[in-house]
């Protein structure tokens, strides 16, 4: 993708439209990045709303389209959206657990012009035994994998890693190989939404990470180009922040299930900002003119040490949501950065993760489900 930087004046056009078409999901993953109070946002956009959003996104110049959620297959009008996306000239990507994908639906997606499917392992702690013993999950994935091959899609697998499954990277990779995966992303959990709630339980130890990377490298050497493996380290273990979303309002435009337009799928949490809804505003105004999308463009909002940092055009000071979650101020440096005066907020958590005895598990792990979400919708913060 093209890099977008802190450009003064009119920003470039969005290149990615992320359509989080529903928050409904048959799974209960403890690392889900959806908002913990998603139960409040059940007023989903209609088919007509989505088709309008797709058209406006194309007019703005977005070329890549991601259908995600929740589980996007929970929408029975996904076929209509896929077909419209192709007509409009998007390159469309479906990000799915595969649950609900049958031959009738994949045939309709192919016919409609869906370009790409990314299949995620729905591994979560509740389902882990099944996942690791490769029984039910493996059969489902095998079935979906066969459909993906049959309909000539590249086999792209994604598995979210955390403390409880990272030691099984070898088995995960073997499973991927057995499915003829062409690309595998081993992405360590990012601590947002439900994952942030469960952060203490999910953060792996440094030693676990080291071993997992070693296993991955050995596997890479053996399989060569047949299977490309990407390993994403949790940013808590980095000392420079990620260039979150490639810059605020620079590349990505997310539209949530209930129609909120966001510069990133987490931004709803940020205080003091109101984000527009696609029910009442068009994407052109939203992208170029809305206060929410302009809030952290450029570098005028930055504080020290970001403001005078030579890397500010590379990493944009990291993630605004992470800065807010950890420091209470969205304009501070992402504390993942070693230059942040509050870097200890990250290293303290990392230190605690090294010694399980020190991890006081005062609260049980929280599964992403409607009941928990309703409860979390009531508690402020």
């Amino acid at each position: 993708m093209e890099k977008a930087g802190s450009v003064p004046g009119r920003p470039g056009n969005p290149l990615w439209l992320l359509a989080e078409v529903t928050y409904k999901c048959p799974l209960h993953c403890v690392f889900c990045y959806n908002p913990v109070d998603y139960a409040r946002y059940g007023d989903e956009l209609s088919t007509a709303d989505w088709l309008r959003v797709l058209r406006q996104g194309r007019e703005l110049g977005a070329t890549q389209l991601g259908f995600s959620g929740g589980e996007p297959l929970m929408r029975d009008d996904l076929e209509a959206m896929v077909a419209e996306a192709r007509r409009l000239g998007y390159y469309s990507n479906l990000i799915t657990s595969g649950i609900g994908l049958n031959e009738k639906r994949i045939a309709a997606f192919k016919e409609g012009g869906l370009d790409h499917i990314q299949l995620s392992f729905q591994d979560s702690t509740r389902e882990m035994n099944d996942f690791l013993s490769s029984t039910k999950t493996f059969e489902l994935k095998q079935k979906v994998a066969k459909l993906i091959k049959k309909y000539d899609y590249p086999m792209v697998l994604n598995c979210v890693l955390h403390r409880h499954n990272i030691d099984h990277v070898q088995q995960i990779l073997e499973m991927a190989e057995a499915m003829d995966a062409e690309y595998v992303e081993l992405a360590n959990t990012q601590y947002y939404g439900w994952a942030y709630l469960n952060r203490e339980q999910l953060l792996p130890t440094r030693e676990q990470l080291r071993r997992a990377e070693e296993v991955t490298n050995r596997f890479r050497e053996r399989v060569g180009k047949k299977m490309r493996i990407f390993f994403v380290v949790p940013d808590y273990y980095e000392d420079r922040p990620k260039a979150c979303m490639n810059g605020w309002g620079a590349v990505f435009l997310t539209v949530t299930a209930d129609g909120l337009a966001l510069p990133c799928h987490e931004a709803r949490m940020l205080p003091g900002l109101t984000f527009p809804n696609v029910r009442s505003h068009d994407l052109d105004w939203i992208w170029y003119d809305s206060p929410g999308f302009n809030a952290y463009r450029g570098d005028a909002w930055m504080k020290e040490p970001c403001r005078s940092c030579p890397d500010k055009t590379k990493d944009f000071g990291g993630c605004r949501c992470q800065a807010y979650m950890l420091t209470g101020d969205a304009t501070s440096t992402d504390p993942v950065c070693g230059l942040s005066p509050m870097h200890h907020l990250v290293t303290d958590v990392v230190d605690r993760a090294q010694n399980p005895a020190q991890r006081v598990e005062v609260k049980p792990i929280v599964f992403r489900d409607d009941k928990n979400s309703r409860a979390l919708s009531k508690t402020p913060g």
Binding site: M1, E2, N13, L15, E59, L60, G61, T63, Q64, G66, G89, Y91, N93, D115, H116, D152, Y153, P154, V156, K225
Partner: protein
């Protein structure tokens, strides 16, 4: 399977599987789209890629471009560009069937 390194005037290229080439009005440029990514092909690179259609041979592409842009000696540019994008895996030699 990887294509053999070299190619001749008779080689016919096509876009890599799962790649799409199109004109983008918003960018005023041709683009190549692939899973989760995009490259902008400006100027001559767009004109060359437009002719990578699974039908024209390398010599055919050169000839067609000479017609469209008379007076310029384009052969070296075309060969260089095709080598580059073939190396990147954006195009492949035409597959049987």
């Amino acid at each position: 399977m990887p294509d053999p390194q070299g190619f001749t005037d008779d080689t016919v290229f096509e876009l890599q599987r799962h790649f799409r080439f199109q004109w983008e009005p918003a960018q005023q440029a041709f683009v190549l789209l692939y899973p989760e990514g995009m490259v902008k092909l400006t100027g001559s690179s767009g004109e060359i890629m437009k002719r990578v259609d699974g039908k024209l041979s390398v010599a055919g592409i050169v000839e067609d471009l000479q017609k469209a842009f008379p007076g310029a000696d384009l052969r070296g540019d075309v060969i260089g560009f095709l080598e580059h994008v073939h190396g990147k895996g954006w195009i492949r030699t035409r597959q049987a069937g």
